[in-house]
């Protein structure tokens, strides 16, 4: 009986923690607007009059995007560090951090999204060939 009571208290704490968190969500404005989230949720059939749930979804999405972005940022920085090791004079130039498809596809792959892109488009017979053999 005591154990049950303790577990019940534990559950009550968890519930209260959750409800407190949901209440605190209303203070925090996520970067992803509520209207956008509502639009896609309505499209999928999600029905809930509670605004806090929409905020929860928005925050979760923001966390997801932030995770993907930070992973690709790490890839980008790693690539820049590798380049700098070879050519020290380019250190000043490559300070700009650019989100590229390469980094993005690498980080999205860990999340289960497979993004594949063409490396080049063969619109002429000499595309991708060595310049030496191109003259022939």
């Amino acid at each position: 009986m005591n154990h049950n009571q303790q577990s019940n208290d534990g559950k009550h704490d968890d519930d209260s923690a959750l409800s407190d968190f949901l209440a605190s969500l209303m203070d925090y404005t996520p970067t992803i607007p509520d209207e956008l989230v509502e639009h896609y949720l309505a499209k999928s059939g999600f029905q809930c009059p509670d605004v806090r749930l929409i905020r929860l979804v928005a925050v979760a999405t923001q966390k997801f995007v932030a995770d993907v972005a930070s992973d690709s940022l790490q890839h980008c920085k790693a690539r820049q560090a590798a380049v700098v090791k070879d050519k020290r004079d380019k250190q000043q130039k490559d300070k700009r951090l650019i989100l590229t498809m390469d980094d993005l596809s690498k980080s999205l792959r860990e999340y289960g999204v497979n993004v594949k892109q063409q490396e080049y488009f063969a619109d002429s017979p000499s595309t991708g060939m060595d310049p030496a053999s191109r003259d022939e």
């Binding site: 923690a17 499209k43 995007v65 590229t100």
Partner: protein, 386 residues
Amino acid sequence: MKDGGLENKKELENSKKQSKSSKFRSKSDDFALAIAKVAVAQVCESVGFQSFQHSALETLSDVTARYIYTLGKTTNFNANLAGRLESNVFDVIQGLEELESGLGFAGASDINRCLAKSGFVRDIVHFVGDAADVRFAYDVPRFPVVKERKGMGSFQEKGEEPHGEHIPSWLPAFPDPEAYATESTVGNGTTSGSDGVKTGLVRIERKIEWPLLNFQQQFARNGNVGDSSCVGGDSGKAWEVSNSNPYLAAPLHFGEKEVDVSPVVLPTKLSNEVASRDPVSENRFVGNHVSVLETFAPAIEGIKSGMCEYSSKQKNVLYNQRPTVHFKIGIGKKSLNTAPDFISKNKDLQKIAYWFENDNEKDDRKRRAENFMKESMECSQEPGQL
């Protein structure tokens, strides 16, 4: 290689059709996607990126949209599974866990875990605590905007009797009989003489046109078949519409003229016969595009008032009703003063400019006119040079 290309084309078209027909990505979704792009860009900026490739941003925003969509779908599914219509916070958390299960989260292997203390929720709490509060850049209105549709009146609502017993009264009423052409008016045209026939035909055409216009107007307004109650008010409007819209007006027959012939200048192709006789027309011949004529229009009007007789020969009937088309034929080069025979023409230009000089005209207008003249001279020269 050719055959391979064709096959790829077909596959590409098929894949395009598939992607277009899929419910997720539709044409009406462009606005939402654009907003998603802005939001994702803001998040990336807060993470530390300084710029991005367009394709990368589009991909990431598309993935984000699909994430929200999938989350909503999973949540709804969980709620329905529990026998509820409205979703719960626990449905959402379960859906989140399902999405994150690929990466793993704390407590995933515990089968008796409580959702309230899910590891994922804890992560979110930490995230909210750490992340800076960056608001969305724009004010987003509620979308999609739902348009209020005016329903068609049923027989009952309009107080009309349906045409037969087989038609129930709660069905929408038939459109007004004038909205579609009737055959009874055709007989009127054959009774009188030749003139009468012409006018009769014109009358018939007009009569057919008005109800059709009527019909189309109502259709456009209601989004449905038109209301019979609106007919009376619209007939006057339809007449006005047909009067003002030159494309819907009755066609003029040979020799017939409109009463108001405004002395607006025409393109030089039509007024070539006049141009050869007229000293003033030199500038018109030079300027082959209407924009030159347009600047001189007020001045030319005054001169042309003395030449009304020539206007009758020209077919300016059609042009009165249409707005002047402004298009520039020629190479869009700025006028350079390096042409060899430009200096000799300069005197002519000054003379022409002097003819149209007005005390009321401002200096910059004169300068603008001169520039137009110079450029038109350039344009007329170059085809000759070619």
